[in-house]
Symmetry: C2
């Protein structure tokens, strides 16, 4: 028998849960459907366990500075792999439990623990149940891409779905794909004592496209682990139970391979074509990023599954936008936030606002500073990196930034919020910069830019404002 | 013979150097006078060496988390006191040399390396030279206060002038005065293995006046070292060459005492009365904080010496304001920056904008969140602390904040810049908060505040904005 509801939300990850909460504010006639593992990508296999692993990696890595600082005994420190993994898993379980206890654990019949698929427009099958929904929200997330030929290597091939389940650290590891995830985990595992080799088809890492920051990131992180860039990776049996991974003329024999070449949208199993949903060349439907509606259909798509802005805070926004629109008379267009992307490598790689490739070079002023002599960075022993800011020449407004810096996550927020406020470089320079902080690096860039611009009209220093 | 100049700047510290640079843009008829030790308070005995010491202290302290994280051997770490001090001194020398090499080192006759004093209005004696100046800028800084009776204990009494000159860490130390400086150094030295006892006449530490943050700071930092609050300290000979320090019913025998009860303005030696400068009850002249002019005299006062805003970025602003005004037709009033005060203790204690005591409680909404369950703080193992935000009930504008948080320095900048932009709590909530970061703690406070306010007028979640 068909159950009739106003809204069916498919996927109980971050986007789906946020969407469902919005729907519930307007109607009780709704269901949440998920047949996969619960607890969100972020908490189970994403942001949270990776940050836990990175924290331990940074802590052990810090010993490189101990002798210089007058701390003895750093050589005696060592990583107990199983204990590190247990620690990471323990934290992960806390975060997963927190998600579950406040969401699906409390739901009764309205949560359907089964995979959903379309039978026809508006009609879903989910296990034994048939759901007739006026509106559907697709929030099914993504899954790591592993080429079929590599799957034959079995448990020696890891993705983020497996790596946080390990009970032992591998002795050696090749990371294929050095985007955000591959780079974060590759560097962290290297610091934890794993022999890591990083490989990417591109010449860049962490998705950074700034022509100064990108090569510098490769240079700095390349001191910690070999980075083979610009060549595709091949995997074959090494003959001793291990795998031989090659790229160009390089090859290495490793115990495990972490495949981090990207994630595909979880859409095929939904039989989207039965709902009249067409997929484009990227394998996702065309949708409006401000309403999240798919074409003119009564279907919305939210979260990682649309392959844009695969970040928790964006997934939360998208879930809520889709949830609001699924119960609205007509879909409402919402403003999207200024982009912020952080790779939690060391140094952090941060992209704020407009990407370098998006800039109109003729009308953009770029300022930069190397961290070398920045007082606080020197004190921290972490003075390698660079800050680059992009501003519109005519208006002086900040357009974007690329950072390679310790604590770059914080500088990224500060700059992002300035773009949200449409601040100019002059206005930013009038803000307080406390001493000695890393924020003074931003101040140095701003001064550099003003020195090369015609923005400064008063006879006073630009960071002083008359009453 | 009298030398006639347009401007004489007394004091070659941060404020004086910034003032002098502004004066030089308009006239060559100027002198810079300083008979004391060069290199700025900040670089020699202030911000910089203290941060260097704190960094080492944080690094060794971090081992408390190593076992939990799966890092073994933390017990084998130990501090080599002389090496730590040499490291701190080495960094300090880099910063001092950087100041000197770009300033007084390059100056000829216009720099007078002697103490200045007024002979009459506009006439200064500096060593053998007599300077007749149309305008004078006083930027003579401050010096630590040590009661005369304590000076008799000789080298066992330390101030920030001495502590960074030590070649060995003392075995035991009492810190008298737990404002910013005493608290920072007391906690750092404790972590470096010194038996530290902290004492203050007040019931608070780090100058924080928020009634939730203050006691929590005492509780957290009090776990690391005994804090004796609310009683005056007494010092006497212990008989064994050490000193007995008492407060109320408590007493301790220590090798050294760090006196950090405040700093007095370096004014008396200038004979200010001969220039017609009257000192108020605080021992400083009355002056206009926006022009820095003293009364209606052709004399300006900039930097720590006026006992307000004793921070580098404010000293820089004040130096420049005084420098600009000393060569202006009429003094120009400049807007001053939104207050920001950071104690680099762990957790940081941060005060932004309006202090708690300055709030009109009836018209203020206060929001707060404990860091306990904040994901990233938990991952860092640093989830003890609290964020408190103050907003105007009518307008929703952020007025101020008090923070007790790791990386509070960064959160402080973010909040400070929001106040500078006159943002409301609703506007702030529309900014991106990346996951998992400490900035999400601010998001939690904002949500808490909106939940208890009538600011939210739309049917949509307040952090979504329609196009």
């Amino acid at each position: 028998m068909e159950e009739k509801v106003d809204v069916a939300v498919i996927g109980a990850g971050s986007a789906g849960l946020y969407a469902y909460a919005q729907v519930k504010r307007r109607t009780e006639r709704c269901v949440l459907i998920d047949g996969g593992e619960l607890g969100t990508t972020c908490s189970r296999v994403g942001c949270m366990p990776s940050k836990a692993m990175i924290q331990v990696a940074e802590d052990i890595h810090r010993r490189a500075l101990f002798e210089r600082e007058g701390i003895e005994g750093g050589d005696g420190l060592h990583v107990n792999g199983p204990d590190v993994l247990e620690h990471v898993q323990g934290l992960r379980d806390i975060f997963v439990d927190k998600v579950l206890s406040t969401t699906t654990d409390e739901m009764g019949e309205e949560f359907i623990n089964a995979n959903a698929r379309f039978l026809e427009p508006g009609l879903l099958a989910a296990g034994e149940r048939r759901i007739r929904a006026s509106k559907v929200i697709i929030a099914t997330g993504t899954a790591p891409i592993v080429p079929p030929s590599w799957k034959t290597f079995g448990e020696r091939i890891l993705t983020t779905d497996d790596i946080f389940e390990l009970e032992q650290l591998p002795e050696s590891l090749a990371v294929i794909g050095l985007g955000v995830i591959g780079l974060e985990l590759g560097q962290a595992l290297s610091r934890l004592g794993v022999e890591v080799t990083g490989i990417d088809l591109l010449e860049t890492i962490g998705n950074i496209d700034d022509p100064e920051i990108g090569p510098l990131a490769v240079q700095l992180i390349g001191k910690e682990l070999p980075l083979w860039l610009g060549q595709p990776a091949r995997i074959e049996e090494a003959g001793d139970g291990r795998l031989k991974v090659s790229a160009g003329d390089n090859s290495v024999t490793v115990e495990k391979v972490l495949v981090a070449i990207g994630r595909r949208a979880n859409l095929a199993a939904l039989d989207p074509e039965k709902a009249g949903i067409a997929l484009n060349a990227l394998g996702v439907p065309n949708y409006n990023p401000n309403t999240l509606q798919i074409d003119d259909l009564p279907v919305y798509i939210a979260g990682d599954v649309n392959l844009e802005r695969q970040l928790l805070h964006e997934a939360a926004d998208e879930g809520r936008i889709a949830g609001i629109n699924a119960v609205a008379e007509t879909p409402i267009a919402f403003r999207r936030k200024t982009p912020l992307v952080i790779t939690f490598s060391d140094p952090n790689i941060v992209m704020v606002g407009a990407r370098y490739a998006e800039l109109d070079q003729a009308h953009t002023l770029i300022g930069s500073v190397a961290l070398g002599l920045l007082g606080r960075a020197l004190i921290m022993g972490r003075n390698r990196g660079m800050l680059r800011l992009y501003a519109d020449k005519a208006s002086g407004r900040l357009l974007g930034a690329s950072l390679l810096a310790p604590h770059g996550e914080h500088l990224g927020h500060l700059l992002n919020w300035c773009i949200e406020q449409q601040l100019t470089i002059l206005q930013m320079l009038r803000m307080p910069f406390y001493h000695p902080t890393l924020e003074e690096g931003i101040q140095a860039v701003l001064r550099d830019m003003i020195g090369r611009s015609d923005w400064h009209q008063t006879p006073y220093p630009p960071d002083l404002e008359t009453l």
